[in-house]
Symmetry: C2
DNA sequence: GCGCTAAAGCGGTGATCTCTGCTTTAGTGC
DNA sequence: GCACTAAAGCAGAGATCACCGCTTTAGCGC
């Protein structure tokens, strides 16, 4: 569970192993699905001894959760200062992240861990999503936008939830245009009725 | 894979075994979580030999998908002929079904099966949800309701998706009142702003 | 360079799972 | 009732996984 890159010895080897393992995990989950992946399999693909994985991560769920956490760090789009644009950007990025090979698999992994840790994984995942949208709404409110921005809860219901739902069920037509329609439906001047 | 109750010999014993296995699966998933359940464990709880499970279902995912399919058959609420009431009833029932112990676990099981069958499981699950709401909209349309009912896609986005999302992330306050607010937000005369 | 030590590698062990050939039980049609 | 056979039970083999003591490697501070 402690898998901070910055714990004790972040130098060469640990970091290399970490990177190799993360890469192998992403690859395997992408091509087999999270259910068909085991720690030994990841270890072999990464060219690393499996005992290392058991020591550093303990369980597959913990490893996948770790991967998910550090996935797409520092790639989130910046705020531009316009509510509609920012909502669209964050939503499009969220959609893209979910749609990446194994995207939902990692989402599921974070949701899935053993019953004890399940709640933590869930909270963390939801927190991550929320924190991507909260600044958007906060700055809009501080800016004093004409119609005050919707609540975070509403954004989750009207934008994030449909995205997750549609990606999980791979409903066709879930693209950028659809995201824009969702945003438009939420903050008014809905152009196209879907 | 083929697990129709009505294949070759639906008589006494097969049906009993089937029921025992389904019950054991529900119990175990409910108390341990789907990840901690194995076919031998289900077999033992059901008082059935594990080879039977391997022969009839093959994999845990297939078993759970089978259970999910036959879960809550014939318990869905009837149509009363009023769009709002019917939407609310179906949505409340869906929420209740998802919230049952292991509810999301079974949802996930249907979503999860090995990559080959994943698409089938997904399609079937989505189809099941859709078919609960489609009649509601169809009858409303045939009835010639004043504002025509929303599209099925819209119902999925605005009602079903938030429910799934909130149950998966166990967001508090996801109850009957919330469902009514969702419906109200969709078909107009939204009473309470959330 | 040189020790120090965190972390990775190696090998092995017990437990569990998955699957299969054969036997036995018990519905179903006559 | 009685034969027929689908389906369940039994037992065991092979594979894999989870885990752990010990050894070896290689960053890091001096």
């Amino acid at each position: 569970m402690n898998a901070d890159a910055s714990t004790k010895r972040p130098g060469g080897r640990s970091a290399r192993v970490r990177a190799a393992v993360h890469g192998a995990a992403v690859a395997l989950v992408g091509e087999r699905g999270a259910d068909q992946v085991t720690l030994p399999a990841v270890a072999e693909r990464a060219g690393v001894n499996s005992s290392t994985l058991y020591r550093r991560w303990g369980t597959l769920a913990a490893l996948l959760a770790d991967v998910a956490r550090h996935r797409g760090d520092a790639s989130a789009p910046p705020l531009v200062g316009d509510l509609r644009a920012d909502l669209e950007n964050q939503a499009v990025w969220t959609l893209a992240e979910l749609s990446r090979p194994g995207g939902i698999a990692f989402f599921r992994a974070e949701v899935a861990p053993d019953v004890d840790e399940r709640h933590d994984g869930l909270r963390e995942c939801l927190h991550g999503v929320s924190e991507r949208f909260r600044p958007v709404l906060d700055t809009a409110r501080e800016r004093g936008d004409a119609p005050p921005p919707p609540s975070l809860e509403r954004v989750l219901d009207r934008i994030v939830a449909p995205l997750y739902f549609r990606v999980v069920f791979s409903i066709p037509g879930t693209d950028e245009a659809y995201v824009r329609a969702l945003v438009a439906g939420l903050i008014g001047e809905a152009p196209l009725e879907r």
